[in-house]
């Protein structure tokens, strides 16, 4: 049986929501990063699903490939920031990183 578009969209929405909640609740910077990955991949699922189930063609799949590369780059950058932050503050608690507040 062919799974329906709605199932994919549901999975994408669940992944997205999980990612957002993870970002909003975790104080650990690594956790936040993982939340970001969830959000991005939720979006990827949506793109690929739309690419498969609609007449949009291959665009969605190419776009999701870009996002994967982007996520990798972003993860590298973010991890470097986290490492540096740890070196300076001996913690990776994002609530402590508030020196730029207004």
């Amino acid at each position: 049986m062919q799974p329906s578009l709605s199932g994919y969209l549901l999975i994408g929405a669940v992944l997205f929501t999980c990612g957002v909640v993870c970002m909003a609740t975790r104080r650990n910077a690594i956790g936040v990063l993982m939340g970001v990955e969830l959000v991005l991949n939720g979006a990827n699922v949506n793109l690929v699903a739309f690419s498969r189930y609609t007449t949009l063609g291959i665009d969605g799949q190419i776009y999701s490939l870009f996002i994967i590369v982007l996520a990798a780059a972003e993860a590298a950058l973010a991890l470097a920031i986290a490492l540096n932050f740890y070196n300076n503050h001996l913690t990776i608690d994002v609530d402590k990183a508030s020196s730029l507040k207004g």
Partner: protein
């Protein structure tokens, strides 16, 4: 001959200019203020100029056999047959105007006396063609006369003149401005006189000005505010540069061939005079004297300009030769007037033009006004005594021998343009001046002031001589006076130098023991100017020339008895002249020393100052030897306008101008009278100042009023002060008041108005414009301020904001655009 003369005179003329340029440019360089080379440079230039002038004079003399005109025989011949005497047209030159000497063919327009090769007239100055001209003269049709008729006349000879154009400066329509030359014997004699005297004076000045040869000159006449004296650099080179410039200007004036060129050099000598009077420019008296001289000359030059305007408007040319040819004179020398007093001019372009006779008078008086200013005649005589503030060599050269004589020279040069009415004015001006100045000289105590007044007086003699139709007599006196007066000025300079700049005669006396050469040469000059002589044995130059003038004056009043003052004043003044000159000599050189300090420090001047005295003394004594048969007089008389010799009888205004014969008849009478007056004056001076018979102080007290009148120079300075200076001050004060109250008031009112308006403007700016800008700024600031609370720095919070924001956005989207 003409080309040679022209070349020689031009060299003599331009050398001082070259000297001036070198001296003024290289004089002040570096540490050369202590060298004498500028002086020797100037001496070399003017000395070479003298040699050129002298050779020119010799060439002229040998070309004309030195016997140019009027010996006594010709007086008699002329008188014997006055009716037969035919006078040619006054002006031998014919139009059209000669544009260039080189371009014009030789056109001997005047007839030539068969037996006198010298009497031709050339319109050009081509030497090589002179003989052709002579031959042509016989064949050419004479314009006014035939050669044989002319030969019968002894007075109709045309003066020999070379004239032409050196360089054409500009042409404005028909007005041509050019550098011309006009060479006759008067030019040559003046050139030789000026260059010779200038050379002597340059030499003298090397000694006199030697205290300027320093980098630190102390001027004891200038007091600085801290009680000391002025220290400045020496100006030796500058003095000689100015002298050179003056020589150039003076020679240019003499050589000039048109009246406008004369005017240019007239002003140039004026500015040289100004620079030299004000040589000690830091002295207040010197700078004001220079201003006074310059300004009073401007008064005369204003008249000169008017004369030039009349001449240009009516004659259309400035050239002497064209001007003289334009004015028609009849056989008797009268200016031909028409029915209504108009004169038909024969213009150089061949046309004819009617000019009112009055305008001829105006032109003549205008040009003579310039002469009044330059020659310090009444009423512009007051600048010359003040001009004695200049160094003494300047007084000798500029203010006695040459520049002030330029006025007399111009009167003589421009003589054919003066109608009898103008001549009468000239005569009276001269008569008044000579008397007035002589009386002031009697009481002056400054040695240079005495000589200055004497100069004015003698210039008056010359002007009088010219005015009473004694053309040659006036210019004769000009030359002799130049020699003896420059000699006396140099002597006074020697005295002043020897007495360490003491000029008051009341502190001198007995100086002949200290400076014998100066005393002796001064005595020569004094005798010469006083006109003393032993008749038939020896006579100095002043005797001859003054006699000539007095005789002319006597002949003039015999013909016109109403003008007897013109004889009486010069005769009286001849006595006064002798008196004040001998007074000067006695007070300075004879008697007991009045001031022991001055006497003890007095010394004879060095050889470089006494040498010029020794050169000039024999010239002053003997330059006029022979009187009216002598060389100098004959030379001058050779250039006399040809109608002068016979005299002019019964002109339109009823004047009779005496001819040579009339003058010759009364010559011995006048000479005797003048000699008696001179001897009387001399004796009086000897009694008063040479012996102790009469106490001068007592006389001074007895005639205190007269004495005060004379020492105040007839109150002329006060009169001019009251007449001109004070009114100008009053008017100036009035206008200053108007400026201060009215004009300044308006300006101040406008200023206050502007200040008020800007104050309002400022208020508006500050309240409204600035307020608006500040309001915007403050609003932006407070908005930003109020938003800063949301930037908490908590990452999770930001994520919440994003989520909430997105949800809210979706909610808004879905509610706004429902399916």
């Amino acid at each position: 001959m003409g080309d040679t003369l022209k070349t020689l005179l031009m060299i003599a003329w331009l050398l001082p200019l070259f000297g001036f340029a070198v001296e003024i440019l290289w004089g002040p360089r570096g540490d050369r203020r202590t060298t004498r080379w500028p002086a020797w440079m100037a001496v070399a230039c003017i000395g070479s100029g003298f040699l050129c002038s002298l050779s020119a004079l010799l060439i002229w003399g040998s070309g004309t056999d030195w016997a140019v005109l009027q010996s006594h025989d010709s007086h008699d011949a002329g008188h014997a047959a006055p009716s037969d005497t035919h006078h040619e047209g006054v002006e031998p030159q014919e139009h059209p105007a000669h544009e260039s000497a080189q371009q014009n063919p030789i056109r001997p327009t005047a007839p030539v006396r068969a037996n006198d090769a010298a009497r031709w007239h050339l319109t050009t100055a081509a030497d090589g063609h002179a003989s052709d001209a002579h031959q042509n003269a016989h064949t050419a049709a004479g314009h006014t006369d035939s050669p044989s008729d002319s030969a019968a006349s002894s007075h109709g000879q045309v003066p020999l003149v070379y004239h032409g154009t050196i360089y054409r400066l500009a042409a404005f329509g028909s007005l041509i401005l050019s550098i011309d030359y006009y060479i006759d014997s008067l030019t040559l004699v003046m050139f030789t006189m000026v260059t010779l005297i200038a050379t002597c004076i340059h030499l003298f000045a090397i000694g006199y000005m030697s205290d300027e040869l320093t980098d630190e000159y102390v001027d004891h006449f200038v007091h600085t505010s801290d009680g000391g004296h002025l220290h400045r650099q020496g100006r030796f080179y500058r003095f000689f540069a100015f002298l050179s410039l003056f020589c150039f200007s003076m020679l240019g004036l003499v050589l000039a061939g048109n009246i406008f060129q004369v005017f240019i050099f007239w002003e140039l000598v004026g500015i040289c005079s100004y620079l030299l009077i004000g040589f000690y420019t830091e002295r207040h008296s010197a700078s004001t004297a220079a201003n006074k001289a310059f300004i009073m000359n401007r008064v005369g030059d204003f008249g000169f300009l008017i004369g030039l305007m009349v001449i240009w408007t009516w004659f259309g040319t400035f050239q002497f030769s064209d001007l003289f040819a334009s004015l028609p004179r009849d056989d008797a020398g009268r200016v031909v007037t028409g029915e209504y007093g108009e004169v038909a001019l024969a213009l150089p372009d061949g046309s004819s033009k009617q000019i009112p006779y009055t305008l001829l008078v105006v032109a003549g008086l205008g040009v003579f006004a310039g002469c009044i200013g330059k020659s310090a005649q009444f009423p512009l005589q007051t600048w010359l005594p003040d001009a004695m503030e200049g160094p003494t060599p300047v007084s000798a050269l500029v203010h006695s021998a040459t520049m002030v004589a330029a006025g007399v020279y111009l009167t003589g040069r421009f003589y054919p343009m003066f109608v009898p009415e103008v001549l009468l004015v000239i005569a009276y001006i001269g008569a008044v001046t000579l008397f007035l100045a002589a009386t002031i000289a009697v009481v002056a105590t400054d040695i240079k002031k005495v000589l200055a007044y004497s100069t004015i007086s003698q210039l008056g003699y010359m002007v009088l001589g010219l005015g009473v139709f004694g053309w040659a007599a006036g210019l004769f006196h000009l030359i002799t006076h130049a020699f003896f007066k420059s000699l006396m000025f140099l002597c006074s300079g020697s005295v002043i130098h020897g007495c360490h700049h003491e000029q008051e005669m009341t502190r001198m006396g007995g100086l002949r023991h200290r400076m014998p050469i100066t005393a002796f040469t001064m005595l020569v000059g004094v005798i010469a100017i006083a006109g003393l002589s032993i008749p038939g044995l020896i006579a100095f130059s002043g005797y001859h020339s003054k006699d000539a003038i007095v005789a002319t004056a006597l002949a003039f009043i015999q013909a016109n008895p109403g003008h007897f003052l013109l004889f009486l004043l010069p005769l009286l003044t001849a006595g006064i002249t002798a008196f004040y000159m001998f007074r000067l000599w006695f007070m300075t050189f004879a008697g007991e020393p009045r001031d022991a300090h001055v006497y003890d420090h007095a010394h004879e001047s060095p050889w470089i100052m006494t040498l010029p005295l020794l050169i000039l003394a024999p010239l002053a004594a003997f330059c006029a030897t022979g009187g009216e048969d002598g060389l100098l007089y004959r030379l001058l008389a050779g250039s006399e306008p040809n109608y002068v010799a016979a005299g002019v009888s019964s002109t339109a205004s009823g004047l009779t101008l005496p001819g040579h014969h009339a003058i010759h008849e009364v010559h011995s009478t006048a000479g005797t009278w003048a000699l008696v007056a001179a001897i009387a004056g001399t004796l009086l001076a000897w009694v008063l100042y040479g012996t102790k018979a009469v106490r001068v102080e007592d006389m001074k007290r007895q005639m205190a009023g007269l004495h005060r009148f004379l020492t105040h120079k007839w109150y002329f300075d006060e009169l001019y002060d009251a007449l001109f200076v004070q009114p100008v001050h009053q008017v100036a004060r009035f206008f200053a008041w108007i400026d201060r109250t009215l004009i300044d008031g308006i300006v101040h009112f406008a200023a206050r108005l502007t200040v008020l308006a800007s104050r309002w403007d400022r208020l508006f700016d500050e309240l409204f414009i600035d307020g608006l800008v500040n309001l915007v700024g403050r609003a932006t600031f407070s908005v930003g301020r109020s938003f800063h609370v949301v930037q908490t720095g908590r990452l999770r919070q930001y994520v919440m904001f994003i989520v909430v924001g997105v949800v809210a956005l979706f909610a808004v989207l879905f509610t706004t655009f429902p399916r």
